[in-house]
C-alpha cells in the first residue's frame, strides 16, 4: 500500500490539511493519489474538482489543475471542462450532502449522460463543516445537530441511485478497507464514462461525538462492521442485510461516453451540413 511516489502528486507545502484528527478524508485522498500514481497519469492532464464542505478542500492539497467550486454544483463545472477539453482526465470529489442533497439534480444528470468524469463521494453521513447537521445518508435514529430527537429521514443508497440514473461504473468502498479502496478507485479513474465511487468514511467530530463513537477508531470500527463484500452480502438473509452496506464494484460496463457520442453523432453531422 505504501507508495513513496504519492508526494509527487501533492502540494506538500499546503500540509497539514484542515481535516480534524481522526477524519477519514485523508485516507480517501491518499488512496486517490495512489490510484493516480499507479495509473501513471500526467499531472498536467488532470482536472481535480470539488464542491463545498470538508471534501471540498481536497484539491488544494493536490498538484493538478484544481478547482474548488460551489456547494453541490461541482459536476456542472466538470461537465464544462470535459466537454471543452476532452483530453483532461476529470476527477470530482463530493461530500454526501454536496452530491445528494443540494447537488442531487446535477449528480443524476451526470450519471445519465455517462460523461467521462470520476465522481468520488466522501460519504461521512453528516454535514461536518457546518456543524453536524444530518445529511441524506445519515442513518435512521442518529443524532445530529438538526435531529436532536434522532433522525427520522430515510436515506439515499448512492449505489442504487447512481445505477438507476445510468452511471456505467458504480462501486462502493470505505475508509477502513483501504487496499480494496485503492483498487476500486484505480478502476474507477481508469474507466471511460461516468464512474461513481461511494466511499463510506468517518466524522468522529460531528457524527461520532453525538452517536457514541467519539474516538476515531470507534467511528472507523462502525464503518468496518457496517461493510461486507458484495459476494457475502448476496448470501445474507434479509434480516442480516439490515444496516449493512455491500462493498465492491456493482457496475462496470462499456457504454457510449457522452463527449465521444456528441463528437460522432452531432459534430460530424453538423460539419457535413455546413
Amino acid at each position: 500500500m505504501y507508495n513513496e511516489n504519492i508526494f509527487d502528486y501533492m502540494r506538500t507545502e499546503k500540509l497539514p490539511h484542515i481535516w480534524c484528527p481522526g477524519c477519514g478524508h485523508g485516507i480517501i485522498t491518499a488512496s486517490i493519489v495512489r490510484a493516480i500514481s499507479n495509473l501513471k497519469l500526467d499531472k498536467n492532464n488532470i482536472a481535480f474538482v470539488s464542491g463545498i464542505g470538508c471534501s471540498g478542500r481536497t484539491p488544494g492539497y493536490l498538484d493538478f489543475n484544481t478547482l474548488h467550486t460551489t456547494h453541490g454544483r461541482s459536476l456542472t463545472f466538470s461537465t464544462g471542462i470535459k466537454m471543452a477539453k476532452p483530453k483532461l482526465k476529470v476527477i470530482n470529489v463530493l461530500g454526501d450532502g454536496d452530491a445528494l442533497a443540494i447537488g442531487g439534480n446535477h449528480f443524476i444528470h451526470a450519471c445519465r449522460r455517462n460523461i467521462d468524469i470520476t465522481a468520488i463521494i466522501y460519504n461521512n453521513s453528516i454535514y461536518g463543516m457546518t456543524g453536524g447537521q444530518f445529511s441524506p445518508t445519515t442513518p435512521d435514529g442518529f443524532i445530529a445537530s438538526t435531529t436532536p430527537y434522532g433522525n427520522c429521514d430515510p436515506s439515499f443508497d448512492v449505489v442504487k441511485l447512481a445505477s438507476a440514473a445510468g452511471a456505467s461504473f458504480v462501486a462502493r468502498g470505505d475508509a477502513f478497507h483501504v487496499l480494496q479502496l485503492d483498487k476500486i478507485l484505480q478502476k474507477a479513474i481508469d474507466h471511460k464514462g461516468f464512474s461513481v465511487v461511494d466511499v463510506l468514511t468517518t466524522c468522529p467530530t460531528q457524527l461520532g461525538r453525538r452517536n457514541k463513537m467519539k474516538k476515531p477508531w470507534e467511528n472507523l470500527d462502525y464503518i468496518a462492521n457496517q461493510t461486507v463484500s458484495i459476494k457475502k452480502y448476496e448470501t445474507m438473509s434479509e434480516n442480516e442485510k439490515q444496516g449493512k452496506f455491500p462493498i465492491g464494484i456493482f457496475i462496470e460496463e462499456k457504454r457510449d461516453e457522452y463527449v465521444e457520442t456528441y463528437t460522432k453523432r452531432v459534430i460530424n453531422k453538423a460539419k457535413g451540413r455546413k
Partner: protein, 379 residues
C-alpha cells in the same frame, strides 16, 4: 465583402457569439431566450464548438465557467427567473475572474411574471443579483444590429477584463427581425484573454504585478494552479487575511470601474442644447429617439442619452449633462430601476429627474414620452 441578413435579435446574438470566437454554450431552455440556445445548438458543432443543454440554469452557468477555464469562450443565455438562479455562479465567475458571457432576455417579473412580454425588469438584478461586493459590465442593445455588435463586444470585454459580462436585451428586440450587415470574420476586432508569459512554476493565477487584470492560463497546458470561490491571495489559495481580502475586494471593483472610459458605450442625440434629456435604453431608447424628434417640432428642446453600457453607470457623463441641462426624464419598462441610479448620479445637483414607468408588458410609445415631455416642460 459583407452579407445582408434578416435576423431576429436572438439569432443576431448567436451569430455575434460565433464571430466573437464563442466555442461553448451551456444553458437551459427558457422563454424568451430559447432561440439563442437553438441557434447555438445548430451553429456551434459546425464551427468547431460544442453545445450542451444542462439540467438546470445553475448547471448551465457552471458548465460555461468550467469550459472557460480550459480556454474556451463560453456563452449562456436565460431570462428573468433563470437569471435569478444563475446568480450563484455569476458570483463565482466574478470572484474567480473567469470570462463568460451571459445573455438575459428580460421579461416581466417578479417570479414567472410575463414570459412572452417585454420588460426591463432586471436592470438592478444584473448589477446586484449575486451576493457580495463587485463590479460588473452590463450592455444593453437597442436594435438587432446592436445585439450582434454588442455580443461581440461582450466577449471581448469578458476576455480583456477576466470577468463575466452580461447583455440585457428587451424581449421585443430579441424577437423582432431587422437587417444586419455581416462582414467576414477578419473585419471584426476580436480580443483574447492574456495568457501567462512566465514559466508554469512561476505562474500565479492572480498575479497583478503587471496590471489589475492577471493573465489566465487554460487548464491542461502545463500550468497547474488552484481556483476557489473563497477569498484568495495571488496564488489562488484561500486566504482570510484582512489586508489580502480587502485588496482583492478593491481590485475586483477597480479593475472594471477604472477602465470604464474604454467601454462606456452610449448614443447621444441633440443633448448639446437640450433643456431636457431623456435617459433611455433598450427598446425604449428607440421610442425616445422618435419622441425627441417630435418634441423638437413642437418647440421642446429635448435630447436623448442612451447608456448602452448600463453598468458601470457613467456618473461623470451625467454630471457633465447636468452642467447645462436641468431636466431629465427616465422612461423605462420597470418601476424606476434606472431612474434611481440617475438620481443618485446627480445627487446634490439642482436638477429635476422625472420618471415614466410601465411594467405591464406594453412598450412605451413615442407619443407617451412626448406627452410626458409636454407635461413636465409645460408646453
Amino acid at each position: 465583402m459583407s452579407k445582408l441578413e434578416l435576423l431576429s435579435g436572438n439569432e443576431a446574438i448567436a451569430k455575434g457569439a460565433i464571430v466573437a470566437g464563442c466555442n461553448f454554450y451551456s444553458g437551459y431552455p427558457i422563454t424568451p431566450s430559447s432561440e439563442i440556445a437553438e441557434e447555438m445548438a445548430r451553429l456551434l458543432p459546425m464551427n468547431g464548438g460544442k453545445f450542451i443543454q444542462m439540467e438546470d440554469e445553475i448547471a448551465g452557468m457552471g458548465a460555461a465557467i468550467g469550459a472557460s477555464l480550459t480556454g474556451a469562450k463560453a456563452l449562456t443565455a436565460t431570462s428573468g427567473p433563470g437569471f435569478s438562479l444563475k446568480q450563484e455562479h455569476i458570483g463565482f465567475a466574478i470572484m474567480t475572474e473567469i470570462p463568460v458571457v451571459i445573455i438575459n432576455v428580460m421579461r416581466g417579473g417578479p417570479s414567472t411574471g410575463m414570459p412572452t412580454y417585454p420588460a426591463q425588469s432586471d436592470v438592478m438584478q444584473a448589477k446586484w443579483g449575486t451576493h457580495g461586493d463587485h463590479s460588473i459590465i452590463v450592455l444593453c442593445p437597442s436594435s438587432v444590429v446592436e445585439s450582434f455588435e454588442y455580443t461581440i463586444k461582450a466577449f471581448n470585454l469578458a476576455e480583456q477584463y477576466r470577468t463575466p459580462v452580461i447583455v440585457l436585451i428587451d424581449e421585443v428586440i430579441a424577437h423582432m427581425s431587422e437587417k444586419v450587415e455581416i462582414f467576414s470574420n477578419s473585419h471584426y476586432r476580436i480580443k483574447n484573454r492574456i495568457k501567462p508569459s512566465v514559466r508554469p512554476e512561476k505562474y500565479n493565477p492572480y498575479n497583478v504585478a503587471f496590471g489589475s487584470v492577471p493573465p489566465l492560463a487554460p487548464y491542461g497546458e502545463g500550468y497547474r494552479f488552484h481556483i476557489t470561490g473563497l477569498t484568495h491571495d495571488e496564488t489562488g489559495f484561500p486566504s482570510m487575511k484582512a489586508r489580502i481580502v480587502q485588496d482583492l475586494q478593491e481590485r475586483l471593483i477597480e479593475k472594471i470601474e477604472s477602465k470604464l472610459k474604454y467601454f462606456s458605450f452610449y448614443e447621444k442625440y441633440m443633448t448639446d442644447d437640450a433643456e431636457i434629456i431623456i435617459i433611455a435604453y433598450g427598446s425604449v431608447a428607440r421610442s425616445a429617439m422618435k419622441a425627441v424628434k417630435d418634441a423638437r417640432k413642437v418647440g421642446i428642446k429635448a435630447g436623448l442619452y442612451n447608456p448602452i453600457t448600463l453598468w458601470p453607470f457613467n456618473n461623470k457623463r451625467m454630471r457633465r449633462f447636468a452642467k447645462k441641462c436641468k431636466h431629465f426624464l427616465v422612461p423605462e419598462m420597470n418601476m424606476g430601476q434606472m431612474c434611481h441610479e440617475v438620481r443618485s448620479s446627480l445627487y446634490g445637483k439642482n436638477v429635476n429627474v422625472y420618471h415614466l414607468n410601465k411594467a405591464n408588458g406594453e412598450l412605451i410609445s413615442p407619443s407617451e414620452i412626448l406627452t410626458k415631455l409636454k407635461g413636465v416642460m409645460h408646453v
